[in-house]
């Protein structure tokens, strides 16, 4: 059963990933990308890591994709199509992706996977305590760094949006 679901998800992801880079209509490409991201969150659900799955849905599907759709809506007209890329670029891109696939396959097939005996359900509480712990294996430093980064981004956005005062 799980095997079947995995193959369905994997097929959806690969299919839409290829569609996303080959589509010549911009917003369609974005939607294909959205299906890939939803497929990834499906994989997370399958391995019982529902927190990461929900983060994937909220951040990528609900946040990033909506942002991309917004920018496409503002700059792109419905009847416009993207230019066809020339042959040289296509060959280069194909070579690069083949190298990427080979590297990933090599890593997967040489790694020794250990089947786990018991299932550990990860509670949200554990994640929260991990983020705030200062002991070994605690994540307080990256947590703080990210919050400073986010504050900097927000202030930057406000400054840019505010703009200069109009000259009289």
């Amino acid at each position: 059963m799980e095997r079947i679901i995995f193959y369905i998800l994997a097929f959806i992801m690969v299919f839409f990933a290829i569609k996303a880079v080959s589509s010549r209509k911009m917003l369609r490409a974005v939607i294909y990308l959205l299906f890939v991201l939803i497929g990834i969150s499906g994989i997370y659900f399958m391995v019982d890591y529902s927190f990461l799955a929900a983060v994937q849905l909220a951040v990528y599907a609900g946040g990033v994709i909506v942002l991309i759709i917004f920018s496409v809506m503002l700059v792109h007209h419905i009847e416009l199509k993207l230019d066809e890329t020339n042959l040289k670029q296509r060959i280069f891109a194909a070579m690069l992706s083949i190298v990427g696939v080979l590297l990933t396959l090599y890593a997967i097939f040489t790694y020794q996977f250990n089947p786990t005996e018991k299932l550990i359900a990860i509670e949200v509480e554990d994640i929260g305590r991990g983020l705030l712990s200062v002991d070994d294996g605690g994540y307080i430093l990256p947590f703080e760094v990210i919050s400073i980064l986010l504050v900097a981004v927000m202030i930057g956005a406000i400054v840019i949006a505010k703009g200069k005062k109009l000259e009289q």
Binding site: M1, K25, L27, R28, I31, L34, S50, F51, A54, V55, L57, A58, A61, G62, G63, I65, V66, I69, F70, V72, M73, I78, E79, A121, E123, V124, E125
Partner: protein, 348 residues
């Protein structure tokens, strides 16, 4: 009853087939609930609107007009699906499904009663927020793919509104999560069994959080006074101007189901879910608990309809001012207040 059906299915079929049949049965039950809730909320809305405007409302089809919305649905099914030539066919046809599927997934985690909950995950509330943030994609796509200026403006307004007010919904729920210490919906209800409803347990900050949640929730569902997405006087019908027949009905139904979901979240987080008030039906074992859930949900929905028929529509700048200059700061302060109250053990 569920137990007997479960055993019966497994006795007549091999295990794999039985589990798939069970999934299909559950899905069908939820779809039926979806359709029924949608149709009767439309009826309820029309009756409430009529009451507020001193009219009678639908009263011809069936007793008290109860079958009016059924007849409307039949009419919508039989209508022609008109399309324009210069639209993006794929996205245009896909858009209604985004809205409706997001609403359906959210329905699955709601606890209607102790037994009646399809998917009880330990991140319940967070999952609800994540899924409900996907519905807006459908609206954006529908508006863009229609190749219509009114639809595009409506869709962009909807995007702005949903993204802004999502923050307030999330933060006000987070304030309440401080009190429960769990994101799992069934556990949130269990907390309220001994200590009373959360809106009483958390008193002042909980009441503020509830008010913010109701305002932001109304905005999330694109209902009046936040319905500038489909402001008739300026935009025709907003993002669904080009949709007809059943596809329009999908958008319309999803709006009502989203209202139902927002009301259900409010009931679970603030008003004790399916728990009876003062435990009056706890001893009666045959009493279906989901009745309490639906009574409370209807109360909240009535409140939202009350908003709709009494407040005038906001302008875009007023909408954004309300969220970013008032609700968000109040929400942040409120969360700190709640933390202090819990820290000092001042909860009731």
């Amino acid at each position: 009853m569920i137990e007997t059906i479960h055993n019966w299915l497994y006795s007549i079929m091999p295990e794999g087939v039985a589990s798939i049949t069970e999934m299909v049965l559950i899905a069908t039950a939820y779809l039926a609930l979806f359709a029924l809730a949608g149709l009767y909320l439309v009826y309820f809305e029309r009756k409430v609107a009529a009451w507020f405007q001193l009219r009678l409302g639908p009263n011809r089809v069936g007793p008290f007009g109860l079958f009016q919305t059924m007849a409307d649905a039949l009419k919508l099914v039989s209508k022609e699906l008109t399309t324009n030539d210069r639209i993006d066919k794929l996205l245009y046809n896909l858009a209604p499904y985004f809205v409706i599927v997001a609403a359906l997934i959210a329905l699955a985690v709601l606890p209607f009663s102790k037994q009646f909950q399809a998917f009880d995950i330990n991140i319940g509330i967070f999952f609800l927020l994540a899924v409900s943030s996907m519905g807006v994609i459908g609206i954006l796509l529908g508006g863009w793919a229609s190749n219509n200026k009114y639809a595009l403006i409506g869709a962009i307004r909807s995007g702005i509104q949903t993204i802004s007010y999502e923050l307030s919904v999330g933060l006000s729920l987070l304030t309440m999560v401080l009190l429960t210490g769990s994101l799992q919906l069934s556990e949130i209800i269990e907390v309220q069994r001994t200590g009373g409803w959360l809106i009483l347990q958390g008193h002042i900050p909980a009441v503020i959080a509830f008010m913010i949640f109701m305002i932001a929730g109304t905005a999330e569902t694109n209902r009046a006074p936040f319905d500038l997405v489909e402001a008739e006087s300026e935009l025709g019908a907003g993002f669904h101007t080009e949709y007809s027949g059943m596809k329009f009905a999908y958008f319309f139904l999803a709006e009502f189901i989203n209202m139902f979901i927002i009301a259900s979240i409010a009931v679970v987080v603030f008003f004790g879910g399916w728990l009876s008030p003062f435990g009056i039906t706890d001893e009666i074992t045959w009493f279906p608990q989901f009745i309490w859930f639906f009574i409370k949900v209807l109360g909240i929905i009535f409140l939202m309809m009350w908003f709709r028929w009494t407040f005038p529509r906001l302008r875009v700048d007023q909408l954004l001012t309300l969220e970013w200059k008032y609700l968000l700061p109040i929400n942040l302060v409120n969360m700190v207040l709640m933390a202090i109250i819990i820290w000092l053990n001042l909860t009731l």
